[in-house]
Subunit: 338 residues, 2 copies
Amino acid sequence: MKIAIVGFGVVGQALVRLLNERSGELYRQHGFAPRIVAVMDTRGAALSAQGLEIAALLHAKASDGTVAALADCGVAGVDSEQVIAECGARVLIEATPSSLRDPQPAIRHLKAAFRAGLHVVSVNKVPLAVALPGLRELANYNRVMFRFSGTVGAGLPVLALAQQCALGDEILSVRAVLNGTTNYILWRMHEAGLDFAAALAEAVRLGYAETDPSADIDGVDTAMKTVIFANVVLDRAATLADVQVAGIRDLPRERIAAAAAGQRVKLLAEFGEALRVGPEEVEAHGPLDVPANINAVSLSLRHGGEVTLRGPGAGGVETATGVLRDLLDIWHALGSAP
Amino acid sequence: MKIAIVGFGVVGQALVRLLNERSGELYRQHGFAPRIVAVMDTRGAALSAQGLEIAALLHAKASDGTVAALADCGVAGVDSEQVIAECGARVLIEATPSSLRDPQPAIRHLKAAFRAGLHVVSVNKVPLAVALPGLRELANYNRVMFRFSGTVGAGLPVLALAQQCALGDEILSVRAVLNGTTNYILWRMHEAGLDFAAALAEAVRLGYAETDPSADIDGVDTAMKTVIFANVVLDRAATLADVQVAGIRDLPRERIAAAAAGQRVKLLAEFGEALRVGPEEVEAHGPLDVPANINAVSLSLRHGGEVTLRGPGAGGVETATGVLRDLLDIWHALGSAP
């Protein structure tokens, strides 16, 4: 299957490495033989109808900072929408960085792919958080598949689990810890009695938080995941504007201290009548009391009681496993035409 | 879609109730309109090409102890294999009771269905535990689908979750609490300091254990689930003979007392090189330390770390939601021909 990748950062690189490592097994078990025909970054593209050589591609990116430096296949300063439309790929992986202030060029890439009849796997939460209902409609209109399971829980199959539960049962409500950075901070405030600033500094030092942690600590990252979950699993045409968001920035140590012995403060996403994100108390040692940077999603089912999935919910290679899951899903749904 | 049910106990009755309750929604969301054309119990059958009336069916079973008592549609003393082959159903739900000493008539029912070209959902662990590799081959040979997700975890989608994880990642090992009865007993031995006999007596009184709890406390129920999981998720052609099984019958209170403060004894299924079931220590308050009759499955993934699913893993209506999930899975895989 011919694949194009736009955006070649941590996840894009982890993905091509994963495809390379597992190629024998993917072919044996699934008849799946991915061929990367185009990779784009901000400075250019590497193109090959026969499929790019992975080791050389990674080397060019590492040594020259762009895939455009790849010998024979590199091209500087391309129009990424044109490449998407003309590179002959069956699937686009959208992995550009983008921010809420500017969800482009990701949205343009998604639209270019849909219009050109490419199936899409998105790694990027931002375009989904601001425009998922419209994007899904556009994908349906163009009869292409649109997957993005790595955007919620990275490698943890949060959306797939919830969809399975919703098939046989009914999801009454959802409570979830969807951000590892804030969970680490709150966990350390409880465990070690740190104040917010000290816990944040530790999280940055250990690589659990970025140097600008705003999207995490202000609850925006959790809110974006809430939007995606609500669209897919609860079938609500929500965008970020529909979520009430409170973060944990400068959460006073007193809030932690005030929690009863049997309780812990978590940054919780709650899906009931309304979609809400904010600090909430949960039962200590209960399903949602996960340590360090672990994520947890708890579904309250009409017949099946409380079902909880927990595990690491971030990271480049973890997200790449989510993308691979989506690719195989598309591959099997297509039958098996190359 | 025309459905036949053989065995009309707790799960079979919960299933028809569930299909009835959710009929509007199942049709709206999935275009799924189940029609129960045959129900068999040990004394006879109820048959209707137009579809049986659910309320009347349940009433006949409750008041007369057999579906054969249903007015107009009831027939006493039928040959169930013949009914399976001739009732015109597209799918058989196998829900007869059976024991390891005698896995019949379940295996005969499954084979009759495969030969007649019916897809099958099995609720029954026993035939799978003794003959799953051969049964799957027979289903493949006859080009029919064979599902049994309710046999492991009841409504908890244990098999589906593990399959999702195995798509993008690699499962290195599995540790799981798959039996609610024994978990309840061990939990009470820890929490309340009860000895084995007192904890078992309490579990029986509260309905967490059957009056003959042998299959649970001797580890056989857990071992059967281990076999099913290993076949489906790890692709091993295992049967019950391949599992080393130890139970918790008469587990001395000293074993519990000897567990360190940070540990709890659980009846654990472990899937590494070997398949093993037996009492093992797990980390207190860790992912596998689940209370009461809760189940938990922890997958160790090459890239994704430790991923754990927990929730109630038994019960009639819970298992019925697992059967419904399988039915919808078959329905969507078929396209949508009636």
